[in-house]
């Protein structure tokens, strides 16, 4: 019930057509039920040889009724389309809006593939169900009741046959739905899994072919596909009983009406039942049974979309784990950072903390390098500064204020971060750079590109800054992408700039040039550089060596070379031991 209320909030401006639809449908159904009745009168007129005038009389009534029914039906179709499509649009908007409020922890909870499915397939299912509810779900029971009443009115005791047939059909349809539902429910996830495996193969085709696993994959796919065939064949075979069941009911009614009805007409000489009523009974019988069929379809449909509704509501109800404080601080004064006994876990219940009791104080304007092995929590450390995640214990302060006191937008505008897994968006290069500041003029854009050493290759591109970046940035190289991402961050003119392994694909010379430019252009900005290469951090004021979620050592490159085992190992794995070449590379980089 809660789910429905939640979804209903998205109907909004389409409430009017949504409520109009059932009423229009009621109008349509009333006329639809009256038409066969009038037809019966017409038939009787014809039968009685009532002359063309009488026939025309009923003909005009029928025509008027059918026009009215058409009008109602047509309008109901329009309002139904408008409200269901509009509702789906609002719902998509609301879900997307909610996702935009997600924190990193929320994003981690839902896989991106599942979010995409929720926004597309699931909402489409809900739209179908909505359409059914306001139109068919009103129509079918109404039709049933009207037809039933009319059948009794016209056929009198003859209509008793329906009382015998309807329970049979009802129970039959219900049983079929009941049995097939779990089968479908079990089948659909398997079907999704099959499609995922196709995607995996398309993505990994080089691996498949390299290991000559085409036949193996085909066999694997065949087995999964065969499994699905079995489940769905079973489900559909049971579902296929619906049609003969329905037909059987119609046939029984027909036979009953024909045999008993003809006896009635003749023995009572048309008093209890006349020929017109006789054929109308047949019409109503068909309407009654098809409404029942429709009801069973609605039942199945609703059960399916209930799952979808559940999944969509899960997103709508997901509370962002990071929220703006009530009285936020609206200005970040400087770029100093303090970690105060910080511990951090991605999940509350995970055993080992990712960061363990970190104490760290960074002055505004300082350049800090961070070095550490794969999985030493370098990224986790810096992600706490712009409050991408909240600490589990302790606190992080920027400019003396706990980051949780700042307005989120203000904080993140002051703390620019170039992520390790970075993305460009489809659009021109200039548009991508302007993510940093949408009001920046062309000169500023060019300026930051120059600082990030991106101007060279941009100028070489056919359309320069207007070159279109494909989705995912597939038409620029890894190093070019990284430089664009740095330029984008520089445009924010942040108080704190964090580069998370952002120059790994850039050569050492360019890397040095970028660092030099940053030093000159934004001297007062606190710079934190995470790197694999020691050359990227050598000239930092201080270098932090991370190991297994703790700070192993802090110091300058020279100090660490003397005192820290890890740093020395990393350093020498990248630089030859013989001193002249080390010097060469260092001096060249500094130049």
């Amino acid at each position: 019930m809660n789910t429905l209320r939640q979804l209903y909030q998205s109907v909004r401006e389409f409430r009017k057509p949504a409520f109009q639809t059932p009423f229009l449908v009621i109008g349509e159904v009333i006329f639809e039920a009256l038409i066969p009745y009038t037809i019966a009168m017409l038939v009787n007129e014809v039968k009685a040889g009532g002359g063309i005038d009488r026939i025309m009389h009923y003909a005009w009534i029928l025509l008027a009724m059918s026009m009215a029914s058409l009008l109602f039906g047509y309008l109901a179709g329009l309002t139904c389309a408008r409200s269901s499509c509009g509702f789906a649009r609002n719902l998509r908007h609301d879900v997307f809006h909610r996702i935009q409020q997600f924190s990193f922890a929320n994003i981690d909870r839902f896989s991106s593939a599942s979010l995409v499915t929720r926004l597309t397939t699931d909402i489409q299912n809900i739209q179908m169900a909505f359409m059914m509810i306001i139109r068919t779900a009103i129509r079918a029971p109404l039709n049933l009741i009207f037809s039933f009443a009319m059948a009794f009115y016209m056929g009198g005791s003859m209509a008793v046959i329906f009382l015998a047939v309807i329970p049979v059909l009802g129970i039959g349809l219900y049983a079929v739905a009941k049995v097939t539902m779990p089968l479908f429910k079990a089948g659909f996830p398997k079907y999704d899994a099959l499609n995922e495996s196709v995607e995996e193969n398309v993505k990994g085709i080089r691996v498949v072919k390299s290991f000559v696993r085409e036949d193996y994959e085909t066999e694997k796919f065949h087995n999964a596909s065969e499994n699905i065939r079995k489940i769905f064949t079973k489900a559909e075979r049971i579902l296929a009983l619906n049609s003969p069941l329905m037909q059987m009911c119609i046939y029984s009614v027909m036979l009953f009406v024909l045999s008993v009805g003809s006896k009635r007409i003749i023995t009572t000489n048309g008093a209890a039942l006349d020929i017109g009523q006789f054929s109308t009974l047949l019409t109503y019988s068909f309407q009654i049974l098809s409404s029942l069929m429709m009801l069973s379809m609605i039942f199945v449909m609703m059960t399916f979309s209930a799952e979808s509704a559940q999944r969509v509501c899960e997103v709508l109800r997901e509370e962002s784990t990071i929220k703006n404080p009530e009285h936020p601080v609206m200005e970040v004064a400087d770029g100093s950072i303090d970690f105060d006994h910080v511990s951090f876990r991605y999940f509350r219940d995970s055993e080992n903390p990712v960061l363990d009791n970190i104490d760290l104080h960074i002055r505004s304007g300082e350049t800090i390098g961070i070095i550490g092995g794969t999985g030493s929590s370098k990224s986790s450390l810096v992600q706490l500064i712009p409050r991408l995640y909240d600490v589990t214990d302790g606190s992080v302060h920027v400019s003396g204020q706990d980051v949780r006191n700042y307005d989120l937008e203000v904080l993140r505008d002051s703390v620019a971060m170039v992520l390790q897994k970075n993305v460009l968006f489809s659009g021109t290069i200039a548009e991508n750079i302007r993510w940093g500041n949408k009001d920046a003029d062309d000169e500023e854009v060019k300026h930051v590109c120059r600082l990030a050493c991106a101007d060279e290759f941009i100028d070489k591109m056919p359309e320069g800054y207007n070159t279109y970046i494909e989705q995912g940035g597939t038409n620029v190289s890894g190093g070019q992408k990284q430089r664009l991402c740095i330029a984008r961050a520089l445009l924010k003119k942040p108080k704190i700039l964090i580069l998370d392994d952002s120059t790994s694909a850039v050569d050492t010379r360019t890397d040095a040039l970028i660092r030099k430019a940053m030093k000159e252009y934004i001297p007062s900005t606190t710079k934190i550089i995470i790197a694999q290469r020691t050359s990227s951090v050598e000239d930092a004021d201080r270098i932090i060596v991370m190991d297994n979620g703790t700070i192993n050592a802090i110091g300058t490159s020279e100090e660490l070379l003397k005192t820290n085992e890890i740093y020395r190992e990393v350093y020498f794995s990248q630089n030859r031991q013989d001193s002249d070449e080390t010097e060469l590379s260092v001096s060249e980089a500094a130049a």
């Binding site: 047509y74 024909l258 937008e409 190289s477 590379s585």
Partner: protein, 633 residues
């Protein structure tokens, strides 16, 4: 243009029907016969209904007692009952077989698509978007299922029923039959205009669904960047734009399809009225009837005629919604066929890889696993077979290559990779490093020059044999849904658990695997999203190591691994690859320093070659790269 499209459409339908018959050559005709039986039988009751009414009418007019007419009525009703029985039987059978047929067809089609896809050359995957390949399996198969399982049978039933009813009508009265034919033309016209519009909008809707999905995917995958840049509002604006366009299309599509039904419904009532009026007029003015039965116009003719006109309208109503699904189904089918028509990867190779034993320097083929492999080389000229030991000696002679004929990517590449050597490629993005490895495993074929593997022209080697002899760790690591163990075993399917663990140890992956929640039995998502980039790479290396190939190609295989871990991996790999050939591509020069030969590539040409020391001494490009004075990207 439209003529051509019509022709295509016709071709698609014919081909689809041919395919369905190929899948089920016996079942499909059975189903069709059952459909016919069912359709004909369901059209016939009106005859008996008419007969019973005629009996009643006579009895009434002549004041006959029920007992007099009872045998006649009973006779007709019994015939009708047995017809119904037959129809029910046909219906049950048809529906059961249809369920079997539909799901079977889908499974066969999916299998055919998948196995065909696996055979397509790498070029196909490089030039087609992943999403569009995926939609063959989802949207297109779905729309085809709808068409085959519902629209086609419905169309068949309706056509047969309509023909049968028309015949019966003509039997009774041609005049009134003409009214109905006129009415059905009107209905068909309406269906074509309104339904056609609706179908077009539904196709448009598909397009906008895809567009919206594109935006959603981009924005959700870039979700973290959006947060970092406070770009939530802009993202929403972009999404709303796509969302609104989708709404417009969906509204239009549903508007037309929703209103089609009431229109047709009421047109049928109007036809009904017309029939009644015409019937009444005919009786009133005693117009001589024109019919095949010679019956005069009477109540007994007009009443069943009215019934038939309802049935007729019902049929048209049932067919009309199928228009949508047929238009969409055909579009989907066309796309599926286009994929199935893609030329598969050709393989004219005939040199195969066999197990061998070596006695006194002579190789002999054996079925046992000996650890020694040999190339089995049949010579067509004289019918002899020679054996060549698999050593892993790869040589390029003056190789040129182009992805597109007009743009040569590699020029005059010559290199010798001898067993026991490590050959490194260094150069900027686009210099052609990865392209060279694409030629060794024949993902692409060379334009000019020669590549020899153990002295054999690689074009003569069966691709499967060639690729089995190469271990490749790719730039972009791809893992498959399954356990860690299964992913490692992917390298060699018959590897034991111990061998897989040994490979993981060699690759330096053992320590982190041990710490995973279920160790080697931990399930991985398709994209390995529960592992870090570096851990994925370590697994990919373990996977290649378990294959134990004589030649290994490592394309940026350690780029996301920190240099300390890399050294551990390196030591493991060196032990594994002792006596074998290794090709390494890396932009991190520390990775390639200890190679036997380093080739520096620039715009598809080898500009320097030598050992690390030699190249430094040369003071050329490599020296500049190493000292950081030159741009790699």
């Amino acid at each position: 243009m439209s003529q051509k499209r019509k022709q295509n459409r016709k071709g698609t339908i014919l081909r689809l029907i041919r395919m369905l018959f190929q899948y089920y050559p016996k079942l499909l005709p059975c189903i069709m016969v059952l459909i016919c039986i069912n359709a004909v039988i369901s059209a016939i009751p009106s005859i008996f209904q008419q007969k019973v009414i005629a009996i009643i009418q006579t009895a009434w007019e002549q004041g006959l007692a029920w007992e007099r007419v009872q045998p006649d009525v009973v006779k007709n009703v019994t015939t009708l009952a047995s017809l119904y029985g037959a129809s029910l039987l046909a219906n049950v059978l048809y529906n059961q077989l249809m369920a079997f047929f539909t799901q079977g067809t889908l499974a066969k089609l999916r299998d055919e698509m998948f196995s065909h896809m696996e055979k397509l050359p790498i070029r196909y995957f490089d030039t087609n978007k992943r999403g569009s390949i995926m939609s063959y399996y989802t949207n297109d198969v779905d729309s085809m299922r709808q068409m085959v399982s519902q629209s086609f049978p419905q169309l068949m039933i309706s056509m047969i029923t309509i023909t049968t009813i028309l015949c019966i009508m003509m039997y009774y009265s041609i005049w009134m039959g003409l009214v109905i034919i006129l009415g059905s033309f009107v209905s068909i016209f309406i269906t074509r205009t309104v339904g056609g519009k609706s179908a077009r909008y539904f196709i448009a809707q598909q397009k906008y669904v895809a567009a919206t999905e594109g935006v959603v995917e981009e924005m959700i995958n870039g979700g973290k960047v959006i947060k970092v840049f406070n770009h939530e509002d802009e993202a929403e604006t972009a999404f709303d734009e796509a969302n609104d366009a989708l709404y417009e299309a969906a509204y239009n599509a549903n508007r037309y399809s929703n209103t089609l039904m009431p229109i047709l419904n009421n047109v049928s009532y109007i036809i009904y009225v017309l029939v009644a009026v015409v019937g009444g007029l005919l009786i009133e003015y005693n117009v001589p009837n024109l019919s095949f039965s010679g019956l005069p116009i009477s109540i007994a003719v007009v009443v069943p005629f009215l019934g038939m006109s309802r049935q007729f309208a019902g049929m048209i109503q049932q067919v009309s919604p199928q228009i949508n699904s047929i238009v969409m189904g055909l579009a989907g089918t066309e796309r599926i066929f286009a994929m199935l028509d893609e030329e598969p990867e050709t393989d004219e190779g005939y040199v195969t890889l066999v197990n061998a034993t070596e006695k006194n320097g002579v190789l002999e083929e054996t079925d046992e696993k000996t650890g020694i492999w040999a190339w089995k080389h049949p010579h067509q000229a004289d019918g002899t077979v020679t054996y060549e030991k698999l050593r892993g000696d790869v040589r390029f002679f003056d190789v040129d290559f182009a992805y597109n004929p007009d743009k040569t990517i590699l020029h005059n590449i010559t290199l010798y990779g001898k067993p026991g050597q490590k050959i490194a490629f260094v150069g900027a993005t686009g210099a052609g490093k990865t392209t060279i490895t694409n030629l060794i495993n024949r993902f692409y074929d060379i334009e000019d020059g020669k590549i020899r593997y153990d002295g054999i022209n690689i074009n003569k080697i069966k691709k499967s044999a060639l690729r089995k002899s190469l271990g490749i760790v790719l730039q972009e690591t791809v893992l498959f849904t399954g356990t860690v163990m299964e992913n490692i075993r992917y390298g060699r399917l018959d590897a034991t658990d111990e061998e897989c663990i040994a490979a993981a140890k060699l690759a330096g992956a053992h320590s982190f695997i041990k710490n995973l929640p279920q160790g080697y039995q931990t399930m991985l998502d398709g994209d390995g999203s529960n592992l870090s980039q570096g851990q994925c790479q370590l697994l990919a290396i373990a996977r290649a190591a378990v294959a134990d190939p004589p030649v290994m190609i490592m394309d940026e295989a350690t780029s996301s691994i920190d240099t300390r871990t890399e050294q551990i991996v390196q030591r493991g790999m060196d032990a594994l690859m002792a006596g074998r050939t290794v090709f390494v591509i890396a932009h991190r020069l520390s990775t390639v320093k200890n190679s036997n030969v380093i080739l520096v590539l620039d715009h598809g040409r080898v500009i320097e070659r030598g050992t690390h020391e030699e190249l430094l001494a040369m003071k050329g490009q490599y020296y500049q790269l190493y000292t950081g004075a030159f741009e790699l990207e």
